[in-house]
Structure formats: C-alpha cells, structure tokens
C-alpha cells in the first residue's frame, strides 16, 4: 500500500477523534492529542513532495498547500499549549473529566473539518466542512456552561448558521450558473472544472451568488458588520479554542471566499469582487480599532484585534495584484502565528490571575516576568512595530496601496494607528504599573508561545528567498 498524505490529513484527526472519545484519563488523552496533531503536521508537510492529482472531491495546489501547512502547524502548537491549559482547568475544577474527554475529541473533529474545507475540490463538500467546523466550535464555546458561555454559544450558533445558510444559497446559485456550460451532475460543482469554464457562465447569476457567498462566509471571517458573534465566542470559550478560532478558522472561511473570487476573476462580464472586499475590510479595520479602547476583558480585547487584522487581510486580497496578494498572504501567516501566541500567553495570564478582567490584573512583568514579557512581545508584534513580521506585512499592504489608491491608503494607515494606540493603552495597564491580583507562579509551558514569536521575529528580519518565491507563486495564482 502506498503512502497517501492527502488521506493522512483527514484520516489521522478522524481516527484520533474516535479514539479520544473512547479513552478516559487526562494524561494519556492530552499526549495522544499532541501525537495526532504531530502526525497530521507531518502528513501536511509531505504534501510538498507528494502531490496527488485533483479528483472530483479533493484537490491540492500551491494555494491550499500553504493554508494546510499553516493550519496543521498552529493546530500542533496549540495542542501542546492546550495540554498545560486543560491540566490547570482540571485542577481548579472548572472542567470535569468527561468534559475534557469531549473537548479532546472535538478538538480533533475541528482539525478534521478545517483540513477537509481546505482540500475540498467540490464546493458542496467545502460548505459541509465549514458547517461541521462551525458546529464543533459552538459546542466548545459552550463547554464551561456558565451564563456567559451559553449566551456566547447561542449567539455564535444562530449567527453562524444564518451565515452558513446564505453561503449554501450562494453555492446553489454557482451551480445554477455552471449547469448550462458544464452540464448537469457532479462536474458542475468541482472547483477545478468550474475555474476553467467560468468565462462562459452567466455573469448576472454569478454576481448574485458572490454577494450571498460574501455575506455568508464573511460572517465566519468576522467582517464588520457581521462580526457580532466573534468577541463573545472568543471570550467565553476555553483559550486554546480562542487561539484556533482566531488563528485558523477565520482563515478557512477567508480561503473559501478567495476560491470564489478566483471564479469571478475568470469571467469578464462579472462584477469585480475587489471593491466589495476592500470596503468590508476597511469598515472592519476602522470599527475594530476604535472598539479596542473600551474593552475591559482581555480576551475580548484580542478578539477585536482579530477583526481588525482580518479586515486588513481582506482589504489586501480585495486590492488584488501580485504585490497586494503577496502582502495579504504574508500578513495572514504572521497574524495566525502572532495571535495564537498572544492567546497562549493570555490563557496562562487569566489562569494565574483567576480573572479575565483587565482592571484586576496589573504589573504582570513584575509578578510573572516570562509570561509578562512574552505578552508584551506579542502585543508589540501584533501592533505592527518594527522589526517584527507584522510590521513587514503591514508595510507591504500600505505601500502597495499608496501606489494605486492613495485615498484608501490614508484610511488604512489611520485605522492601523488607532488600533496601535488602543492596544498599547491596554497593554500598559496589564503589563506595567502597580502589581495587582495573585502572584502565584504559573506552571505554564512557554515553548509554543516563544516558538511562534521567534518565527514572527525571524520573518521580520530575514525571509529566506525560497519562502519569498513560494509566496510570490501563490500570490500569482490568486490573480
């Protein structure tokens, strides 16, 4: 039997989910969870060397190869963080062993759903995978069963399902547009077939379809004004899930949107999807930047920061062209790494302080130097200060926009600066000043956090030419 990495990224999490649901005992399951994500990461990496031919259901090209490697890598580091985080939750009694068992199984189901959404070649299958990912995260957000967690999960569920329903309507319309050209049946939903023939589709139908898809998947990306579920879901669920939501699930929804954008780009009569994405991106950026100022909950603060950055990424892809796409991809990678690192730090901070309220924590760099300075470094990175990776990617987005649309670039820079000031204002009261709250040492594992930050730092200083060439190649695919 030959080794098939494509099946590997699906079968490993699926099998692990079944196994984790059956096994009791926190120590074994946490290790098994890490082992499964390691194996998935290795399968994903081998996709660079063994590239299966596209079938009617699955497809691997350079675009989703990048997304899969990023997803499985952050999934792997988050599982390490999750082991120490969940251990603490068990000790304090916030979670009971049956819930931990459920949590680990759901973690693997979520990895499975995200991988499936990324490698699906069939637009119907992609929709099913995004829906599965939504349902698993709803269950995880509600896992603490407190008032706030239930409210957050209910809100996420209702808004997420409505978004998903609109996306399905858009998917049906794409099929309707494809049917007269491609013919009835399976082929009219296969993306690699659609993109070759999209030039002949009815442009009016394709336009309406894209509006539905943008609203539907845009809800999942967390674009304002469709973002209402996002801060609650981030704040009330377990922190490893906040890290995966911010770092990965938002990207998956954006990826779905990009696939449809590529379809529209082929059709000369269809509307340009760019301006719509640029508008939503800028609204999200400016809105979320202002929202940073009045946050009192630390996880809510960084949830709004995620909306801000998804706005920048959507804006960059909306501008299009080789340079802006390159900047968008680079920014997305940097944001995933940095934001999950921040959530790793925030998870431990909330555990040692016993609260998520910013007012009840202070002087973190004095009471917990490693954790505190790790958080400071993460916020410096996410705010876009040199010489870290996000500075480089934001600089690329801004400079490529200045060359083409100076007016938009001014709004962009304004939003970024407002966000930067907001973040530092909050960071100041968390990390410096008079120490507040408990000062008990934390038994955290710092490896995942500092691995991510080191990568972001390295990318800001020096990008290997091979990586640059790879990103350029993918940016070229996006058109």
């Amino acid at each position: 039997m030959t080794f098939d990495p494509l099946a590997g990224v699906l079968i490993v999490p699926a099998a692990a989910a079944a196994l984790l649901a059956a096994l009791p005992g926190y120590r074994i399951t946490a290790r098994l969870n890490i082992a499964a994500t390691t194996l998935t990461l290795l399968c994903a990496l081998s996709l660079f060397f063994v590239r299966p031919a596209p079938g009617p259901y699955l497809l691997v090209d350079d675009l989703n190869g990048t997304f899969i490697v990023l997803t499985t890598f952050v999934g792997f580091t988050t599982s390490i963080f999750s082991a120490s985080y969940i251990g603490h939750e068990l000790d304090t009694g916030r979670l009971t062993p049956p819930f931990v068992r459920f949590y680990h199984a759901m973690y693997q189901v979520l990895m499975f759903a995200m991988n499936l959404a990324l490698i699906a070649n069939n637009i119907g299958l992609m929709w099913v995978a995004v829906e599965l990912a939504t349902l698993t995260t709803v269950l995880m957000v509600g896992i603490y069963r407190s008032h706030e967690a239930l409210e957050a999960a209910w809100k996420y569920f209702i808004l997420g399902s409505v978004g998903i329903a609109l996306a399905l309507f858009g998917t049906i319309l794409v099929y309707m547009a494809a049917r007269p050209v491609v013919g009835e049946g399976l082929d009219a939903m296969v993306w690699s077939v659609l993109v070759k023939r999209a030039g002949a589709f009815d442009p009016a139908l394709l336009n309406v379809a894209f509006v539905f898809l943008l609203l539907g998947y845009g809800t999942k990306v967390g674009l304002a004004p469709l973002h209402a579920w996002l801060p609650d879901a981030h704040a009330e669920g377990p922190t490893p899930i906040s890290a995966v939501l911010s770092g990965l699930l938002l990207n998956v929804a954006l990826y779905a949107l990009l696939r449809f954008k590529m379809l529209l780009a082929v059709n000369p009569g269809a509307l340009a999807p760019g301006p719509l994405m640029v508008t939503l991106g800028l609204i999200s950026l400016v809105f979320a930047s202002f929202m940073l100022y009045r946050r009192r909950d630390i996880k809510r603060l960084f949830a709004y920061s995620s909306i801000e950055h998804m706005g920048i990424i959507t804006f960059a892809f909306g501008m299009g062209g080789a340079l802006a796409n390159f900047a968008g991809l680079f920014h997305m990678t940097m944001h995933s790494l940095t934001k999950s690192a921040i959530f790793f730090a925030v998870g431990h901070v909330a555990q040692v302080k016993g609260t998520q309220r910013i007012a009840d924590m202070g002087g973190l760099t004095e009471t917990h130097p490693v954790l505190g300075w790790g958080l400071v470094l993460g916020v410096v990175a996410i705010a876009g200060l040199p010489p870290l990776g996000i500075f480089m990617s934001e600089f690329l987005v801004v400079s490529s926009t200045f060359a083409r649309a100076p007016a938009l670039a001014i709004i962009l820079v304004f939003g970024i600066l407002v966000g930067l000031a907001g973040l530092f204002l909050r960071l100041n009261s968390i990390a410096f000043g008079e120490p507040r709250g408990p000062a008990a040492p934390s038994e955290a594992s710092y490896v995942p956090m500092f691995t991510h930050l080191a990568l972001v730092f390295a990318a800001g200083i020096y990008m290997p030419p091979a990586l640059v060439a790879w990103f350029q190649n993918v940016a070229g695919l996006l058109g």
């Binding site: 929709w127 008032h147 409210e151 209910w154 399902s161 998917t171 309707m176 939903m189 139908l205």
Partner: protein, 220 residues
C-alpha cells in the same frame, strides 16, 4: 413544455411561501409547530414532484428525509420539549403582526425582483423555483429576528433551511452530496439546539432569549 408539471411545481413552491407567512404571525407555540409540520410536508411533496418531473430518483430520498425528520420527528420532539418546559402559551414578539407582515411582503417582492431579473436565461421552472426559495429563506430569517423565544427561533431557522432544500432541488441535476448534507445539517443542528435548550432550562428556568441577554459578557 409548461403544462401540468410546471403548474404543480409552481403551486407547491407558492404554498411554501404562503405557509411561511402563516408562521410569521402565529402567537402560540403549538400552532406554530403545526404549521411548521405542514411546511415540511409541502416541502416533501414539492421535492417528490421535482423527483418525478426531473426523473431523478435520488430526490425521493431527500423527500423522504424531509417527510420523516422535519414533518414528523422534529415537531414531535419540540412538542415534548414545550410540554416539559410548560411554555406553551404565548410567544414574545419583538415587533407587531402588522409590521412583520409588511416587512415579509417587502422581502418577497425583493426576492422576486432580484431573482427574476438575474435568471432570465435559465429555464422558467428553475427560475421561479429559485425566486420562491429565496422568499422562503428571507421569511425564515425575518422570523428569527422577530421572535425572542428560543423554540420559535429554531423553527424559523428550520423553515429557512426548507427554502434552501427547495432551491437545491429546483436546480436540475444538482449532486446528491448537497441534499444529504442539508438534511444532515438540520439533524445535527437540531441535536445541538436540543442540548442547548435543556442547558438553558437547567440554568435559567426559561427559554426566553431575552433573559440570556442579561448575561452578556460585555456588561460585566
């Protein structure tokens, strides 16, 4: 080609829109559930009719799923939940009946204008089906917005999904993958919601979503 096939499909899709309007102004949960069951029954008939005129036997499966799950199993289960929770009397509405109906009429007009205009080249059966389907989707959405009660929001969501199934079956030759996934998603969604309803009950002794709003994290 029009003839009886077209007329019956038209009649069934039109009835779905009409039933969506009926759902919109119900103020008792039992009545709402009965109308939803009828909604699902008409959907099942419509899907079966599509299966017959398109000569697509796999659509009968979809019709059967709609019939058993949405017209029988789910209304019965929701009925039991209502009895158990003792909340059968009134539904809290956010806006009055008149306003909701006017908004509904506006949404139907909107979907007719949009869909009929963009699908001029598609065959008439598919395009009218699509226009009706979008109306049902939007009316379901409106119902979710105008209700505070968790059970009636769930019913709104399910009639929205009925609209999606109508659209999917109207698109001739659409692969089975999607129909089954829709049916499955409703099943899963229902399980999730069921769990939530019981958890909400455990915690608050009410299924009025307004009470949940008091626990929003932002107000802390």
């Amino acid at each position: 080609m029009h003839g009886i096939a077209f007329d019956v499909a038209h009649l069934l899709a039109g009835s779905l829109v009409l039933l969506s309007f009926l759902e919109l102004y119900q103020d008792r949960l039992y009545a709402l559930l009965n109308i939803f069951a009828l909604h699902a029954l008409v959907l099942a008939t419509s899907v079966a009719w599509q299966a017959f005129i398109q000569d697509a036997p796999h659509l009968y499966v979809t019709a059967l799923i709609a019939l058993t799950f949405k017209a029988i199993v789910i209304p019965t289960a929701l009925h039991r939940i209502i009895v158990r929770l003792g909340i059968h009397r009134e539904i809290e509405k956010v806006v009055g009946v008149g306003t909701a109906m006017l908004a509904g009429i506006g949404l139907v007009a909107l979907s007719m204008v949009v869909m009929l205009r963009v699908t001029q080249e598609a065959d008439p059966l598919a395009r009218e089906d699509l226009a009706f389907a979008l109306s049902v989707v939007l009316l379901g959405l409106l119902m979710m917005v105008t209700r505070r009660n968790a059970v009636s929001q769930v019913v709104g969501f399910m009639s929205l999904e009925n609209g999606l199934v109508l659209a999917a079956t109207g698109a001739k030759g659409m692969p089975l993958v999607v129909e089954i996934s829709v049916a499955f998603s409703i099943l899963i969604a229902f399980i999730v919601i069921g769990i939530f309803l019981f958890r909400i009950r455990e915690r608050f002794d009410t299924v009025d979503v307004q009470v949940l709003d008091q626990f929003r994290g932002e107000r802390r």
